[in-house]
Symmetry: C2
Subunit: 366 residues, 2 copies
């Protein structure tokens, strides 16, 4: 695991140079059931959970029942919930699609205001479970370190705790946080991740689904509007000077779309050109920071009426080396490798998106 | 139901003049079970609920399991949830405590961003249920009209729909709303209520438990901090000019405490005295608007180490004719009439709090 530096992506080994790795899935969701969580908590927090429950507000039915509660209809194990059985996930994802590596983005612990001691234990439990039940038994699973992100010193402790274990390839944040991601509150976490060569993945969702303009009434509304939160967080990261201050930080915008990033770069550069005196910490145009520091996963990818419009977006937007294939298994809107990308993409670009970019970013080159 | 005008509370009939009514409970919570809601929805929204579920974020376990999920241990009917069986509530509350009247504050429908059509039907269903299953069969039940408050034109329609029915004595809002309660968004609802002589009750809670300074980690924290939301809403109502614009509006602050109101009046008057040019719509001191327009329920009442401190607060704060007794049945922190008030309160004040004030406010004088 020796990540390449972000400033030399074009000199890194191309997809062709690593033919042994043909498919990397950068967004898979393992989920612990409540009894599994209970088993791994200390007596203090187990008792707290039993007697007082959780305090994080959630949408009781975040996914429509009419879409199998958000899950692939075939993804329920006999006992448990989709994503709770590593054996079933192995069969349905790794084996069926011949996936070389898949990144486990566990979302169980992305709570912002359960007590910090509980948040720390919950995230530790998720990582222990991923390590013991998924990553150790099967070398194809890569891990995202779940952290109690809104308690930064505890999040840094959790990152440090994983130093002795292999194949942790990123740290994961929800897109909805207590403060915008540019806030200095989170910098110590970014610094800890960057120091270990770990990108930080920002995944759509989190306890707060406000979406920036009132609360959504419909799932279809939320499904699309997650991308506005991701955009807002990206602007916060750039304008907050995070990339200027932490040159080794890499961000993976996950499940928030990508086509918008082209227009965002245009607009943000234009605003910066007339307002740069306000943010003298930015030594380069915003688009350059985004270009050097930010990757995007494909699922759910934008699908224009003419698929070639997306091809042009990738080419003209210089996104070919910044896109990472993802299925979102076991969710209902799973993208299979066969259907995820428009046919008009160049062969080399497809290879990069399916594996090459992830190999470079996560240091997977054989 | 001929409410007295708020400007002449001292000339209204005293508690002694209505000896036939000795106990009015101003905060009781009937609750529909999900199947009961389903039964009363149209096919369009029943199908929506079945296939897409609710979109309002909630704390899954808002009450501690260790406090019987927030309910009196004896309040579960054989089939259903506490507050769903009018017969059990009649026995445990009206009969056991010899309650003359009790106000039904249904909270099922206080959702801010489920689709408006659904919010309208849900609140209509609650009111239909209260009318048919509670109020018509037993004349001691009084009703609070549940409204889709964040869709004002639909809320006004619901108030109008109840014109032909008797014993609706107030309109109910949650304390946590999309906009502060002083916002003009809500004025049409206040006007509709005031025009019918109905107070508006503002009840602690609502989908958004942000409490004004981050999200609470603990129930004990939230239980107390609800009063800060109520305070903030009261300031918004005053400063937003609501009472100045709608002189007949009466507000019942429910389950948010009361002792704080004395200090709040001092502070707000002081601020107004040096800033009144900012809010020229206020023709009188804030404390005068509060004095004339605002009532408070007792449960959960503040309990100082020396109970006489509370007695002095009531006396010096001129609250004797503004306090309304409440049990909060069927919740775990039920206040029985025997224990709710400190013994040091004057007999006449006790009589006012237990019944006289409610008789005046709700026009219950025999």
């Amino acid at each position: 695991m020796t990540p390449t530096t972000s400033s030399t992506p074009s000199s890194a080994p191309s997809a062709e140079a690593t033919p042994a790795v043909a498919l990397v899935d950068c967004d898979v969701h393992p989920t612990m059931t409540p009894p599994m969580v209970m088993e791994r908590l200390s007596a203090r927090w187990r008792r707290h959970l039993e007697r007082f429950g959780r305090r994080t507000p959630v949408i009781t039915e975040i996914y429509p029942r009419a879409r199998n509660a958000g899950m692939r209809a075939d993804s329920w194990p006999e006992d448990g919930v989709p994503g709770s059985d590593p054996e079933l996930a192995r069969r349905q994802l790794l084996d069926e699609w011949d996936v070389d590596f898949a990144v486990l983005n566990g979302l169980n612990g992305q709570d912002c205001f359960d007590p910090p001691g509980f948040a720390a234990e919950l995230n530790r439990a998720i990582n222990d479970w991923l390590w013991e039940d998924w990553m150790e038994p099967d070398g194809r699973w890569l891990g995202a370190i779940a952290v109690p992100h809104d308690y930064p010193e505890l999040a840094v402790e959790e990152i440090e705790r994983r130093v002795g274990e292999k194949r942790w390839v990123q740290v994961i944040f929800p897109a909805s946080t207590q403060e915008p991601l540019g806030s200095r509150k989170y910098w110590s976490i970014y610094e800890a991740a960057a120091a270990r060569g770990l990108p930080v993945a920002v995944h759509s969702g989190g306890y707060d689904t406000h979406l920036g303009a009132g609360w959504p009434s419909f799932y279809v509304e939320e499904h699309q509007a997650f991308s506005t939160v991701v955009q807002r967080q990206l602007v916060s990261l750039v304008c907050g000077g995070v990339f200027a201050a932490i040159p080794d930080l890499k961000i993976v915008m996950t499940e928030g779309g990508v086509a918008w990033s082209v227009a965002l770069r245009w607009a943000l550069d234009e605003a910066w050109s007339v307002l740069r005196e306000e943010v003298p910490e930015l030594e380069r145009a915003p688009s350059e920071y985004i270009r050097d520091h930010v990757w995007f996963t494909t699922q759910p990818i934008e699908e224009p009426d003419d698929p070639d419009d997306f091809v042009r977006t990738v080419e003209r937007g210089r996104l070919a080396d910044r896109l990472l294939f993802a299925t979102d298994y076991p969710h209902w809107d799973f993208d299979s490798p066969k259907q995820a990308l428009p046919r008009g993409l160049a062969k080399e670009t497809r290879a990069r998106i399916f594996a090459g970019n992830a190999c470079e970013l996560y240091g997977l080159a054989a």
